[in-house]
């Protein structure tokens, strides 16, 4: 078996020496077929679940502390417990709308191992009495849709899905459904709106979370693809074994995608809570260091919505509590590494532009605020900035996310960390997310902003593309 190497048919995935809970089939070129899946134990986890009572299966998931892998990191077993008893039917909605900047893992799981995901869905449906499952795949992911469709067709033919699954009284349909290009649909209530045939605008919450009032007004569990992909292994091996990996607070593994200025960008299955950013960036079986001849300037630790980290934070473990206290989040496992050639204003502008484009328009502070942020940043970047623009950016940001915004500590400036999460004047976290690049870069690299504004000039930054070709 190859170690420490890219797997050509799973672009970006690096087969390292760590435990494989969700990527065990990736090294096989035909991992997505039923034949390969069955030959490597697919649906054994479902059989193991069916040998137990639904409550026991739920108990196992709770005991294992399977953390949600979509971004919030909430334990799935606890989320599952929030459904009001007796208010049937219950639904399962699978969030495969992966679109957080920097995030690349759910697509691999859907393309490379659709049967593992289907099995995970079935285990969840069995445990909770969920009457129908909707598997929502991002619109742009044509191959994932195709692979899941084929897998479902094969699974139906073999009696793994549908009526009287494996000869038992357990029956559930999985409906493949897909989106059409809208980042915000990754937010669970917006996803439900989209699934009901509406514009993908988040619903007001609290008081009612989807577990209480979700799809068609019924109790609904919304789980991320990777979260569900953990369940077959868990059923086969048990919570005790699951907890031998990772840390006490964050057992098991998770997929992280490291992109940007590293020697070997890739998707890695790592042990949660124990692996540090340093291991990941510099380790031989991971990214093998920053680009030749360059050094780390900053990194985004958990997707475009996460406040940025700097070299001082590199020894933190990928543990939610530590990263939160240090002023950011692990989010969706997307790590974007930037070296010293990166223009902080330009990078911040690009992410802010993303939020301005993707704001659904429901809440005024976000709809107007993100647009303002983008315009002001753009003019600063273009050398047209005004001296008051930095304060204006912070003021707009304060309208979306009032009070001190989460930030990493900066020893050079004597500034302590401000813990995650931010406050918000909006229904969902999209608006506050747009503040992350602004607050992070202004606090740390205010001089880059000022240089652009006062000198009406850009600081010299080498063109990355030109250098790459050299």
């Amino acid at each position: 078996m190859p170690t420490h190497a890219y797997v050509p048919h799973a672009p970006g995935y690096v087969d390292n020496d760590g435990p494989k809970i969700v990527t065990s089939r990736f090294p096989h070129e035909d991992s997505f077929t039923l034949a390969r899946a069955e030959a490597t134990g697919a649906y054994d986890g479902l059989r193991a679940a069916l040998d137990r009572t639904p409550a026991e299966v739920h108990g196992e998931v709770r005991e294992a502390t399977v953390l949600g892998r979509g971004g919030a990191g909430f334990p799935a077993g606890v989320k599952w417990g929030f459904m009001p008893p007796g208010k049937f039917p219950y639904y399962l909605v699978v969030n495969g709308d992966e679109s957080e900047p920097g995030t690349y893992k759910d697509r691999l799981l859907m393309e490379r191992d659709p049967h593992q995901l289907i099995e995970g869905c079935l285990i969840a449906c069995y445990a909770l009495g969920l009457a129908q499952c909707f598997l929502y795949v991002r619109g742009e992911m044509a191959l994932a849709q195709e692979r899941i469709a084929e897998a479902l067709n094969d699974a139906y033919a073999k009696g793994y899905v549908g009526k009287n699954i494996l000869g038992t009284e357990f029956s559930v349909d999985i409906t493949l459904t897909w989106g059409a290009g809208a980042y915000i649909v990754g937010e669970e209530t917006a996803l439900i709106e989209s699934l009901e045939g509406n514009r993908g605008m988040p619903r007001l919450k609290p008081p009612y979370f989807p577990a209480a009032i979700g799809l068609y007004g019924q109790p609904t569990i919304v789980n991320n693809v990777e979260t569900l992909a953990n369940l077959p292994w868990l059923m086969n091996n048990g919570a005790a074994q699951y907890k031998t990996y990772g840390s006490e607070a964050s057992p098991g593994t998770r997929l992280v995608a490291v992109s940007g200025h590293v020697q070997r960008p890739g998707v890695y299955e790592i042990e949660q809570g124990v692996t540090t950013f340093r291991d990941l960036f510099y380790g031989d079986n991971f990214c093998q260091g920053i680009r030749e001849g360059h050094e780390l300037k900053m990194f985004v630790p958990g997707g475009g919505s996460a406040p940025w980290f700097f070299p001082e934070q590199v020894d933190l473990p990928l543990e939610a509590k530590d990263v939160g206290a240090a002023g950011s989040m692990l989010g969706s496992g997307a790590i974007i590494v930037m070296d010293e050639t990166t223009d902080a204003v330009k990078a911040a502008l690009r992410l802010v532009r993303f939020y301005a484009r993707e704001s659904c328009g429901k809440c005024t502070p976000c709809r107007e605020g993100t647009t303002w942020e983008e315009r002001v940043l753009q003019r600063i970047y273009d050398g047209e900035g005004r001296p008051s623009d930095i304060d204006m950016l912070l003021d707009i940001a304060d309208n979306i996310s009032p009070g001190p915004y989460p930030n990493a500590a900066d020893p050079a400036q004597g500034l302590d960390a401000i813990p995650f999460p931010p406050k918000q004047t909006t229904i969902c976290p999209l608006g506050p997310s747009s503040v992350a690049p602004i607050a992070s870069t202004i606090r740390r690299f205010r001089h880059e902003y000022e240089a652009k504004i006062t000198k009406r000039d850009t600081i010299p930054v080498m063109s990355v593309a030109m250098e790459g070709e050299a």
């Binding site: 039917p89 195709e146 349909d173 459904t177 897909w178 059409a180």
Partner: protein, 213 residues
Amino acid sequence: MARFDDTNLAIANEIISRYPRPKSALIPLLHLAQEQDGWVTDDAMRHIAELTGTTPAEVKGTGSFYEMFKFHPVGKYVVNVCTNLSCQLLGGEELLEHAEATLGVKAGGTTADGMFTIEDVECVAACTEAPCLQVNYRYRLRVTNDDFDSLIDDLRHGRADDVPEHGTLGLIRQSIPAGAGAGIVAPEEAREAPVWLARNDVPKSADDEGGEG
């Protein structure tokens, strides 16, 4: 053109049958319309409204929220170049500039011969493989300017086998064989607990399992 033809009407009805409420099929049906015609026409939206018990305004109201739906003709090949941060760091913007210069249109535009539309898009989940693009939602990874040029050449000469015409997403559709499905569960109709939850009430004994064992 533009209402569903007979083949697509059958597919549309099958899609609708998989949801408790027909309106939930709206986005998949808009995709089907786009697959048939290359873009979403007014007639198609009227037809979708009839099929889902909604109004054409509701169909357009939903559809216009989503970037993938085009309400005007676009190129046979829609080339989406990612310029979000991970790609930007490794030359995504330069790739887009090269694409614009090569095809002679700006992002959002379509070439005069109707072959290509270029778009400047947000993260498409291939961040470790930057810079990347999608052409009709098929990936091209770690794309150099030369790669781009040969892609365009291949597309012009019909040599890119994995790229269907704009509008077609997955080439395989879900299809539940007659009698194999558990059946949709409408919120109004299923007020009882699913039967298997009764297992929670029965004390477990060694040999009463219903599984295949």
